[in-house]
């Protein structure tokens, strides 16, 4: 049951993320990027056979998750946060310079 729930959550997040990523609004598409990054993190968590029945670090008998993907996720979260901050900073600069948040109007390099 838990697997199906997690799979559905990940796929839903991916769908929302891709949809937002492809929007014309720069801020929405930055949000889409953040959502996709988190969907991937959940996917990595699921890759460690995460069933949500026991915490990862308890060394007791029974179902345990693989710890390595969780280490990967920690790294990916940090990098993703940095990337999101940089993207937001760039969107800010772009909106100041082009006076718009519509990506179609950011076309100084297209002739």
């Amino acid at each position: 049951m838990m697997e199906i729930l997690i799979a559905l959550t990940i796929s839903l997040l991916f769908a929302i993320g891709v949809f937002q990523l492809l929007r014309r609004n720069l801020i929405r598409s930055a949000m889409g990027l953040a959502i996709i990054t988190n969907a991937v993190n959940l996917f990595l968590l699921a890759a460690g056979a995460y069933r949500g029945e026991a915490p990862a670090y308890v060394n007791a008998a029974g179902q345990r998750s693989d710890a390595l993907p969780q280490a990967l996720i920690l790294t990916a979260i940090v990098i993703g946060m940095g990337a999101f901050a940089v993207v937001l900073a760039m969107v800010y600069v772009l909106s100041l310079r082009y006076k718009t948040s519509d990506s179609d109007d950011v076309k100084g390099l297209k002739h």
Partner: protein
Amino acid sequence: MNEVLALLPVMVPLTAAVVAVALRRRHRVQSAWSFGAMLTSLVFAALLLADVWGEGRPLVFQLGGWPAPFGISLVGDLLSALMVVMCQLVLAGGFLYALGCRDQCAQYPMFYPLFLLLATGLTGAMLTGDLFNLFVFAELLVFSGAALTAMSDDRFGAEAAYKYFYISLVASVALLLACGSLYVSYGTLNIADLARRIAADPSPPLVLPAMAFLMAFFMVKGAVMPFHFWQPDFHTAAPTPVHAVLSSVVVKLGIYGFLRMTTLLFPAQADVIRTVLVIAGAVGVWFGGLGAVGTYDAKRMLAYSTLGQLGFILVGIGWGTPLALAAAIVYAFNHSLLKAAMLMLAGSVASRAPVKTAAFDLITGVGKKMPLAGALFLLGGMGLAGIPPLNGFIGKLMLFQRGVDAQAWLPLAAIGLAGIITLVYVARAFQRIWWAPMPEGAKTKPYGDRLVAPTILIGLSLALGLWAEPLLQLAYATVAWLGAPDQYVRAVLGG
């Protein structure tokens, strides 16, 4: 003790970047320190290549002393050592250009540290033996590359950086998905361990998606035809020393990835990858060539030209025979040197133009005052087009030879005809910049960027064209290694 040579080309620029940040208030000291670090790192890369080639075995450094597959290994085999030497060579050239360039951005206190981080990311991505570590280094590369672009003098720098950063982040998501898929299937992310396990059991359902995600990642990195759209915009606005490096060696990360994928990770499924690469390459050759002919800006022209030239390399990898692979490696090496030099020349012409830009309208006739740059540009253009005295000829000859041998007439005709387009756009640029008279009333600036770096790079390419034997032998030896992935696997995992 030699193992540490696999670590030093990554470690030296990383440490030097940290120190360079501390030196940020003293610009001259900082630039001298950073350039020294870059040269040191180049020396270590050359030592690594010499050692690996001389001893005939890969060097593996296990980080933190953890044995593979539990720790992260840095693997210097012949392919990665060759690629690292190539990258460090061009990076050092870019550094030399930055030292003598009049861009405002090269004076910023964070320029050199970021450049060193770019070097770290690129070198690390090519030396690492771990997929997740590849992700980390690729992110380092993207962050520093985007920051360097955003600080450009060009007012569109932020737009270019945004496009580059955004598409690269999506590519990184693809790489993470590939990591997850492979981890689920095989429980390891060590490339050597993965290679062994995939060869033993290719049945898990997530192997093909992982392959597709990895391909998407490397295609974005290499600006391969359907994923190329960030690249021309990016090169129009980035500072000259940065895009000279990014257009020549950073795209080679994609080439490196495809070589690894077809020979080490997925040799059994390589036919699918190869077919895609031949098609993408042949289309890219045409697309890049025609795009370069039709564009309005010298730097943009060279960016499109990169698409076309990468097409030749991809066709070489796609054909996949020893001769074609050797041709791809020689071609990649040559393209790195030449394209970096050509972009630097375009940048130095732009620095002499009345308004700092490489748009053809504004640099018409600017070259009248720079005969040396004209001669170098013509030499470089001949190299790109594959005319004999330069090294470009050899790679192309080997590639066409393979096409004739295998009677692959259709792709051969496609890339052969498209090769002629190279001559068209190079001649057009040369004519606009060096032959056409200046418009009335326009004045060039008396000083521009120094030409030391492009002279060295073109000279190197000329030398490798006249005395090609060492590079050819190296390429053939590399291909022989690629044909025996067991050696790589055993070197990393032991036993």
